[in-house]
């Protein structure tokens, strides 16, 4: 990576889940990751409905954000898989199709933007799983997560479609596991590991509920005992955390796996005090996990 990074915080995290942004900023500070605030950027825009309604609207709004990065002379760092999917797809699409880029620029030029196709887009998992960052992380761990058994949820948009995302294996990804292992945690293999959270299947509530129930039921039955499900996307985090309670009530099953954001676990291991993180700010409280961390 040659350029500085512009910090693209998105909307869902800063507006609805600011405690996740706080955890990430703490991690970035400790690791000495230099970020520049991106001012005046909009929603990435959200990949599910905008892309469905009108491809040109989706791409043009995305290209405006990429153009702002270009003007600042930075590449983009995202902390949400939705932003990652949109911005990376738009950047690849416009890099490969110069005619389309021309069409999009014709619109952007009218509001004084121009995108030449040079902005690169990264997700923080992509960054921190690089060997140099892993070494740095390992050297700065002050509270190893030795006692924790963690299940990783990659989510779909972080790794697929691989011809666009181009960083981890699309069906057998390992980058989040590698980061958690660098923090000392044990990560678990399980059958539903690669299943979608169902957040984007908006028309039928039952799809999401079934997917969440299947995954959480399996995790509850794992012999090792799961201390938490770790995700890197605000949609996945919200989906599992909210639906888990609803399903438990409906089905009478005892589902009690807390869902945490990767940056929160990194912050803990890198020495951020638990009271400065909002680990209890979710439906399923990570009480057992906190107990293990404080004992």
């Amino acid at each position: 990576m040659k350029k500085e990074l512009g910090f693209f915080i998105g909307c869902t995290i800063p507006l609805k889940l600011p405690h996740l942004e706080k955890a990430f900023r703490d991690v970035a500070n400790i690791l000495g990751l230099k970020l520049r605030e991106m001012e005046g950027v909009s929603c990435c825009p959200e990949p599910v409905s905008l892309q469905s309604l009108n491809m040109d609207t989706w791409v043009t709004l995305g290209a405006r954000n990429l153009a702002i990065a270009e003007k600042m002379g930075v590449d983009i760092l995202t902390i949400c898989s939705g932003c990652y999917e949109t911005l990376k797809t738009v950047s690849v699409l416009l890099k490969e199709d110069k005619e389309y880029l021309k069409k999009i620029n014709a619109i952007l030029n009218k509001i004084n933007y121009n995108y030449t196709g040079k902005t690169k887009v990264y997700h923080f998992v992509e960054l921190f799983s690089e060997p140099e960052w892993l070494d740095k992380i390992k050297s700065l761990v002050v509270k190893p997560l030795d006692d924790l058994n963690l299940a990783v949820h990659y989510g779909c948009h972080l790794v697929r479609p691989s011809k666009i995302m181009q960083f981890d294996h699309p069906e057998k990804p390992e980058k989040i596991d590698i980061i958690l292992q660098a923090l000392g945690a044990k990560t678990l293999d399980f059958a539903n590991k690669l299943e979608c959270c169902g957040y984007c299947a908006r028309l039928q509530e039952e799809i999401g509920e079934k997917l969440v129930e299947d995954k959480m039921t399996e995790l509850c039955e794992l012999e090792e005992g799961v201390d938490g499900l770790i995700a890197v996307c605000p949609a996945c985090v919200t989906q599992y955390d909210r639906k888990e309670k609803i399903i438990a009530r409906k089905s009478g099953k005892e589902l009690d796996i807390p869902v945490l954001y990767l940056a929160e676990m990194m912050a803990v291991a890198l020495g951020v005090e638990l009271e400065d993180l909002s680990l209890k700010n979710r439906s399923v409280k990570p009480d057992k996990l906190i107990e293990k961390l404080t004992s």
Partner: protein, 177 residues
């Protein structure tokens, strides 16, 4: 099971396949060999009226109305496994997005999808950020020591939405937001 559909060749839309494949990134539609790998790995395969390989077959056959009225094009969870696994590199999830775009042009839009553009049109964000809501968000961020948000110039966002053809939808629904 889907009901048996009988249609005369005259009533098929033979140009439909090209209407799709002419779009950026959708040429791959024409390469489908109907192997069904997309459908076997599809997250929502039990919930759709047309499975992915049948959506593609219907596009190739020219069953435009059937495809654009199916629940299949909107039920997708966007997991991209179809695209990932296709041995002929048919980009199904992208083609599906284009099919939704075509359905939208015909006014077939589930409300779960149309409300997002209204929120972005009015806030620049996918989460409402005006009035009391904005104050609450700002206060919460302030308490955590997070920097102030500098939102986009709404005029620019609205211009893009209007210029690319979603202005009417964004404004039409403004009243019932």
């Amino acid at each position: 099971m889907t009901e048996m559909l009988k249609k005369n060749a005259d009533n098929l839309d033979h140009s439909f396949r090209y209407e799709i494949s002419a779009k950026v990134g959708a040429k791959s539609l024409l390469k489908c060999i109907q192997c069904g790998v997309c459908s076997s790995g599809c997250t929502v395969t039990e919930y759709v009226d047309l499975q992915p390989h049948r959506v593609v077959a219907s596009c190739l056959l020219g069953l435009k109305e059937e495809v654009l009225s199916s629940n299949a094009i909107w039920t997708c969870s966007l997991c991209h496994r179809c695209t990932e696994r296709c041995p002929k590199n048919v980009d199904y999830s992208f083609i599906l997005a284009l099919l939704r775009n075509l359905a939208v042009k015909e006014g077939k839009i589930p409300k779960e999808y149309s409300s997002t553009v209204v929120t972005i049109y009015n806030n620049g964000y996918v989460v409402p950020y005006t009035g009391g809501l904005k104050d609450n968000i700002d206060r919460r961020r302030g308490k955590m020591g997070l920097p102030e948000l500098v939102p986009p110039d709404l005029k620019e966002i609205q211009f893009i939405i209007e210029e690319t053809g979603l202005g009417a939808l964004a404004k039409e629904r403004e009243d019932d937001k």
